[in-house]
């Protein structure tokens, strides 16, 4: 009887773990991102603790993989202050800028493809935009509105 109960609890445990994996859109062995759940952040402040933008395990991992630890830290600093999250042309647009505690004066965009699973980051300093993952000076294929915002978004 004891072992039956134990087996049942283990089975429930495995089911719960499985649901956790599904909810992040991850399939073991297939690192394809599914960001569609993040559209719930539309018009919300992306670094509110309860929304856990950077604590989202999949987004956190993907950003660290894209940027490396140093630039990831730089990104989190650039999100010291934020504006409300936008949804433009199928992309979730997160915009942040350094607060007064930082000695740098920089902004950053995180562009999350809700339909294509893509992830891009732009660091903006004195109207110079550095897109990742792209060589310096290049612009990604994104809606005009997003590129326009990046070009004209100056630090506050």
């Amino acid at each position: 009887m004891y072992f039956k109960v134990l087996s049942l609890i283990l089975l429930l445990n495995l089911l719960a773990l499985g649901q956790g994996l599904q909810s992040t859109g991850q399939v073991p062995g297939q690192p394809v991102h599914n960001w569609s759940r993040l559209k719930a952040w539309a018009n919300e402040f992306p670094v509110w603790k309860r929304l856990k933008t950077f604590k989202d395990p999949e987004l956190h991992g993907a950003l660290r993989q894209l940027l490396g630890p140093n630039n990831y830290k730089r990104l989190t600093e650039d999100f010291g202050r934020v504006v409300r999250t936008e949804v433009i042309g199928g992309y979730l647009v997160l915009r942040g800028f350094t607060d007064k505690s930082s000695d740098r004066d920089e902004s950053a965009f995180i562009i999350i493809g809700l339909n294509d699973g893509s992830l891009r980051v732009a660091f903006i300093k004195k109207n110079e935009v550095m897109w990742r993952p792209l060589p310096a000076g290049q612009e990604p294929g994104l809606p005009d509105c997003i590129l326009y915002q990046a070009r004209t978004w100056s630090t506050w």
């Binding site: 004891y2 134990l6 609890i9 283990l10 429930l12 445990n13 719960a16 773990l17 649901q19 956790g20 909810s23 759940r37 559209k39 719930a40 539309a42 018009n43 919300e44 309860r50 929304l51 856990k52 604590k55 989202d56 504006v83 409300r84 999250t85 936008e86 949804v87 433009i88 042309g89 199928g90 809700l114 339909n115 005009d144 509105c145 326009y148 915002q149 004209t152």
Partner: protein
């Protein structure tokens, strides 16, 4: 010993269930009449499954602004449309003109998420007709939205807003 094992398993169960925080997190309940429409972000306004014009608050706001005839025209324009966008706190949706008719009208519905005043623009080859008619020609909307209205739909001369 068995009790210890059982406690460990129960703890593991609890932590596994706790791996879905974003499913449990809830956004703030809307306190503005149209704020709930943000759930339409990146969704088509009219599809086989859903129709945004069935939303009572939006329908009421649009009917108040347009009247029955223009409201029906707007709904008709939205036979084809692109997914809803949220730009700088503004809800933005627009229709897509019929490809076979380059002079077909395009309609825009724009509102700030924290207001119940809806702006509608009908753009034709004769110009852009904003409703309600703003005092100085164009309403205050984000630059991206202004550019979108200028660039999409049939070409019309700049600054040719319908004076009527």
């Amino acid at each position: 010993m068995h009790v210890k094992i059982a406690i460990v398993i129960v703890l593991l169960s609890a932590s596994a269930l706790g791996q879905r925080p974003h499913h449990r997190s809830r956004v703030a309940q809307p306190s503005y009449p149209l704020a709930h429409l943000k759930t339409w972000a990146n969704e088509y306004p009219v599809s086989a499954k859903r129709n945004i014009f069935k939303d009572a608050a939006l329908r009421r706001a649009l009917l108040r602004l347009l009247g029955e005839d223009d409201y029906q025209q707007l709904v008709n324009d939205f036979r084809h449309s692109t997914p809803v966008e949220i730009i700088d706190g503004y809800f933005v949706m627009h229709s897509v003109p019929d490809i076979s008719n380059p002079n077909d009208e395009i309609a825009f519905v724009v509102f700030w998420m924290y207001d119940d005043t809806v702006l509608v623009a009908f753009k034709s080859q004769y110009g852009v007709d904003w409703l309600p008619v703003p005092e100085y020609g164009e309403p205050t909307v984000p630059e991206c939205v202004s550019r979108m209205v200028q660039q999409l739909g049939p070409w019309s001369p700049p600054g040719s807003s319908d004076p009527d």
